[in-house]
Symmetry: D2
Subunit: 292 residues, 4 copies
């Protein structure tokens, strides 16, 4: 993508004339549309669109565009958003000990492939601090109580409270659970709805819950996968953004599957996050519309 763009996304009840209404509005501004996608779910009666406009082609800044578009959106109902690619988005990453997703995302930001600033990484273990700081990103260690701790539940509450404050201080566009392995409390899922992105190391809904590769090995499946989804209070059941799989065979132990699975997790999370950051993902109930 070259040049500054304004990205308009809209989700609203389906009816005749929506495309015409938006297209006329943009034509009226003289806007040059560089990407446009539409989706009507006839069964559910909902409509979704994403339109990308060359910022140089319209005689206003993003704030003015938002004001001008507000009556159109109000007329159509539903939800909308207008982003400006000239304003860099922000993400906070939550991690534990696994570093493959973290390292992959740091690399993609370093090269400029992911259009985001990682404002901080929060880990419940300190082991990933060196690799994070080597990439010039601040790392915060928020320890969680151990399994045997008699004040464990209270300790978790305190830890999540600290995480909440750190995250909210940055007001990020994405909170990425990059193999975080702790269950996000319902009130944080709520507060961060549509922004908290998880990578689950199985092809959901298969093998939800713990140790999915070991479950997959026991069942003898011939493909394993990973799922990038929005975190919701209903564990492993949030709207799916992206999934992919890779082939395994009888020679693969559960440990081999863990290793093979890492490459899928990396790719699926990186794709899902990029689409989220580029405003390509619209949530409709428990499903997503992803405009590639």
């Amino acid at each position: 993508m070259t040049g500054r763009r304004y990205v308009i996304t809209l989700s609203c009840p389906d009816r005749t004339g929506i495309v015409a209404r938006i297209a006329s509005f943009l034509a009226g501004l003289g806007a040059s549309i560089t990407e446009a996608a539409y989706h009507a779910d006839v069964e559910a009666g909902v409509f979704a669109t994403r339109q990308v406009v060359d910022a140089a082609s319209v005689p206003c800044d993003v704030e003015e565009l938002r004001e001008l578009f507000a009556p159109v959106a109000a007329e159509l109902g539903g939800e909308h958003r207008i982003s400006d690619t000239g304003t860099r988005k922000r993400a906070v990453l939550l991690v534990t000990r696994d570093q493959h997703c973290l390292h992959d995302l740091l690399g993609r930001v370093w090269t400029g492939e992911l259009p985001v600033e990682i404002t901080r990484v929060i880990g419940n273990h300190a082991s990933l601090e060196p690799i994070v700081t080597a990439h010039g990103v601040p790392f915060h260690h928020v320890p969680f109580p151990a399994a045997g701790d008699r004040f464990r539940e209270q300790g978790k509450v305190t830890a999540f409270e600290e995480i909440r404050k750190l995250v909210d201080a940055d007001d990020p566009d994405a909170i990425v659970l990059a193999r975080f392995m702790q269950i996000l409390p319902a009130h944080l899922c709520e507060a961060w709805a549509g922004r908290a992105i998880n990578i689950h190391h199985s092809f959901l809904p298969s093998f939800a819950g713990a140790r999915p590769y070991h479950q997959a090995h026991r069942r003898g499946v011939k493909l394993i996968g990973a799922t990038c989804h929005y975190a919701t209070a209903d564990l492993d059941a949030g709207p799916i953004i992206e999934q992919d799989v890779t082939r395994v065979d009888h020679g693969d132990t559960a440990a081999d599957m863990v290793r093979r699975g890492r490459d899928i997790e990396r790719l699926v999370l990186a794709r899902g996050l990029r689409w989220h950051l580029e405003d390509r993902v619209l949530i409709q109930g428990n499903r997503t519309v992803v405009f590639h």
Copy 2:
């Protein structure tokens, strides 16, 4: 797809307001749009769109719709077409001895998956006649001169002339070279431009020409593929509609590759042909826009 639909496709020079123009036209008719896709190739300065309208939502038949849309299309320039899914399309298949693509297409038509009537199958060998007639389709044997024949070139000209007459008598929407293995003469490529569809048993542009699986085996590639493309006078270089690949390894002989490749050829041809029949493929120079 349920119910009758009108499918509008348009390819024209890119400029501001095309979407608004078409959308307003359709909104003016009260048309209910069930699918819409757009593509602007900024570099090449061309625009393409495909819009599907619920026939029951517009107060006119396809002929009237064509008349009403003509001035809009004239204004925008370029090429357009309006199809009516209520009118069954027609295809002629050209085959030689290989039956896997032929059998697959006959099955898909039999089940109604491919929205087409196969009006006839023309083979340069008679061996596939029984399977064709078993599916209730007429078969025509047009023999070609053998390799050693001293009047071979003239014999080919005569054979192709017979094929041309048989094909043109049906005025088909698609002429499918379902592993035909004879090079179509330039004047037929010309006459059937945008309608003659070939399946090449390699991942073009790799291994163009004869015996691609043997070439692939010799080179030691790790994936083999197939390509569905429009036939043009420039052999194996026409606009690509669809490609896919499958994995091979050192244990696969050239014969194994031939067998594995068949499944890819079948799928790639069936997909490419379906997209063509559903007016999803627009040719722009030597490339295609495929609205999935």
Copy 3:
């Protein structure tokens, strides 16, 4: 594969020297090994091997080879089998109304790709009879009682009894449930253990049970799949032979998924059945070893 082959498969407890024992036996016969594969599951303590011998290289027929190998197999324990590719295997297909898997298998047998004779097709509806007989295969209609029938359970028992007799009369190497859609009774699963092959239209263990594509659509997954597995009394939980997936997106309705899924079902069943017929699949508990 050219020429007649003897295929030896063996599954036994793992210990040192198994490969040496078999290899010495074959070397002693002067056998030319054209394919050999081994798998030791260290965790489970089981070993599996498949060896293919050029029949022309050994001074005995398959019966003699079986006798000669028996003491070796007895020494190693476990189960073994020796097949002769010179003896054509037999399969019976069970179908209902869906014809895509059936038509695909008929075509693969017709071309000689699948090394099997389809001795008969049994359908609980008569609608597929024409396409079966067009391929020269006998069709038997065994009607099942309708949903509202008050003697439904007894009717099913009678119908399955008739099917059992028809199948057993052919003593087939494979009983293929090519989208049969009736649950095989436990005693038939038992009687046909390791020979009854089912195609399930989902990526198991996801969406087991009825209408998997509708379940998949509702969950909003980004890939759908199919699973070929041995039928066991524990429904949809038998040893998996092969699986594959294809991508879907938000634009796909449940009906689109059904259509897209058919291509995966066809391929997955054809691959699984071929591997079974070529003695490439060894069952170990609820998992399979598949020597490709």
Copy 4:
């Protein structure tokens, strides 16, 4: 893989009894075989095998094993090698400005996924130095003469001479051209034969040479890929270790293809390099046997 292993690979003329000879030798030592793979290319008359032995099961160290196996190998002819997984392998990376492959490999080594020590990274630009040293690996900048330089050819010779000295000082098991973009001189391809590994950013043999993604875009292909191969004097024509592809469509510009392609390059190089380091790749003429 847990525990120390000895890995035996052998490539020799095919004849009866090879498996028995090796298996008897190992059984005689009481060796516990944890992995074994064989491949006979009947057409070419060559045989290849890879056997992995639990080091704890044999009463000798790797040097003694090599001595004991030498007469067996001599008897069979061909080439063999015995590696000890207890001895860490070494790799040198050559890079230019692109960092995606480099960063990916550094991460895989950091996590222990790739069993190798990166002894140094050599770049013809200095820009990647910070990311390399952040991972604790020495970086050497060997500048190359610019395009307009009148002593360019001589400058290149000098630069490659310096690279040769740096590489050979480490006696690495792999010299990885991780998007190096300079053509390796023939004498270095020769000196490093079977150790110099290149990643080519196309699905070879398609689009060999410069700017493959731009070539792919122009041709309108529907899949793009990457190829990991051994570097040979015959540019882009060395034995292929691994390839993979990803789907593109009409909406992808050449720049999009470059971005999408990076994920395939990363994976294909990481896989190819891991297989090389685990002695899974045997070169036979211009093709490879890869024992997965």
